[in-house]
Amino acid sequence: MPLNPSEVTSRPVYPPLSADPRAARHWLVLEAGSLDGELLAELHTAFAPVAARLQVCWVGTSAPPADWGAFTVLPDVAALGSVLAQAQPLAVNDRLCAQGTEPFVWGVAALAAQAGLATAQVQLAHAGSQRRRVWCTHCHGFTDDVTTSVVACAGCGRHLLVRDHFSRRHGAFMGVMVDAEQPGVRPAVQEVFP
């Protein structure tokens, strides 16, 4: 599902992932179930020049493609933390690339930052569902896997309008109370992030 363009400047845009032949090591972190065969083939070609210094992590339960070579299969994003811990010390010229849904790739970005990688060493790209992680401006809680224009906050129950405003720190979109002016008067809920 390609992302819709937005007028909101904080909305990230994601160029295709690319390998940097000058880099020391690459990690390519892929979300199982989000990438189709065509995209996988493109990535295979793009990262072939650095294959000797590349570790591909396949995150999720579905099986990795058979014709792709070696994968490190991880149950979830948190497990990537131990992969990076084993690779310490991370170098200034290492690179980490991630592709999948936005909640997934921004989860990877948070782990990479924790491990000490600079933002310039981390590349993110979108694939799969447009579902969003939403941050409530009222209770500061998160609501995951949001596909609709209005969602009930998992933290405080307020009905939140999901905006395009994005926080890189939270890896989440802003949600603001939709019926604050007239309680109970809410627009129809539409599935806008399939």
């Binding site: 170098a91 200034v92 010229n93 290492d94 000490g116 600079a118 310039a120």
Partner: protein, 314 residues
């Protein structure tokens, strides 16, 4: 206390080597000086033959000093007058005009580690880095390429425990830049200050080694880069023409005829002196303008004309 110019008095002047002189300067009226951070510089008006020269020098005193500033000045062989004046004319008790300090080379606060590479007198900004609490806490190493005999000159300026390594032009003593940059921990920032050839080679090595460009910083110096062939500059708004001599910069020439032109670093780095270019082909020597901007603007502190004439919107 705020302003744009300072009057400084020479408190002490010490010859460190045949080509290096240390000046300690205090405020002429005894007032506290504006505090500066590591990497700051001050633009001085120095007496010269027939006209005054404006040279920028890095401050080597500890960051935050209010009582005095320290600079170390290399006498440039083909001196336009500025560095020669520091070496030959200035005496203790003399006063100097200077601009307020500026800083185009501050250490990056988020850095997890600092790797510094200095070429010769390019060590000066790093002498203040080495006294900066943030740099010391993050961890650093300083690599200095200089003449073998200058090691002893710089040694007293370095903290005793500091990881400083010297290199000079002899087998077994040259800096292996590629090896230095190949394996540095993530979060390291590289800062380079030296002659343009050294800066260019270290920057190229960092790019080749895959360093993110946001983690590579450089400060250029070299007043020698301001000379070239003579040409005529037409100042459109002022309606005057000035001949720019071979040994002066376009900015020097503009100032010589009394046209006020803003400037800060006089080294093509800060962008303060940007001037719209109306006609003529420029030889751009700055480190600031993008190629697209260079089609419309010129930085007169370092850049010159390719042809016989430039028309500036000044």
């Amino acid at each position: 206390m705020n302003g744009s110019s300072l009057t400084l008095r020479v408190v002490s002047a010490t010859t460190l080597s045949p080509s290096l002189r240390h000046l300690q300067l205090a405020s002429a009226d005894g007032a506290p000086l504006p505090p500066t951070g590591a990497g700051a510089h001050v633009l001085f008006a120095l007496p010269g033959a027939g006209r005054s020269h404006r040279n920028a020098y890095s401050l080597v005193n500890a960051p935050g000093s209010r009582s005095h500033y320290d600079i170390i000045v290399r006498r440039v062989a083909a001196s336009r007058g500025g560095s020669a004046a520091v070496h030959e004319t200035l005496q203790v008790g003399d006063t100097l005009q200077a601009q307020w300090p500026a800083n185009l080379f501050a250490p990056v606060r988020g850095a997890r580690r600092h790797v510094m590479v200095a070429g010769g007198i390019g060590i000066t900004p790093f002498l203040s880095y080495l006294q900066d609490a943030g740099v010391r806490q993050a961890g650093f190493e300083l690599h200095v390429c200089c003449r073998e005999e200058e090691r002893a000159v710089f040694a007293p300026w370095l903290p005793a425990d500091a990881p400083v390594f010297f290199y000079w032009d002899a087998d077994g003593h040259r800096l292996d830049t590629a090896a230095l940059l190949a394996r540095q921990p993530a979060g390291t920032h590289l800062s380079v200050c030296g002659p343009s050839e050294l800066n260019a080679s270290v920057l190229a090595a960092a790019a080749t080694a895959g360093w993110p460009s946001a983690q590579v910083h450089t400060e250029h110096f070299g007043s020698g880069a301001s000379g070239g062939t003579a040409f005529e500059a037409v100042l459109h708004k002022s309606g005057v023409r000035v001949q720019v001599a071979e040994d002066e910069s376009l900015l020097d020439a503009i100032e010589r005829i009394g046209v006020a032109a803003p400037c800060l670093c006089r080294g093509g780095a800060c962008g303060v002196c940007i001037t719209p270019l109306l006609d003529g082909e420029a030889e751009h020597r700055d480190h600031f303008l993008s190629p697209a901007e260079q089609a419309q603007f010129i930085m007169p502190c370092v850049s010159r004309a390719r042809g016989a004439r430039l028309v500036l919107d000044l």
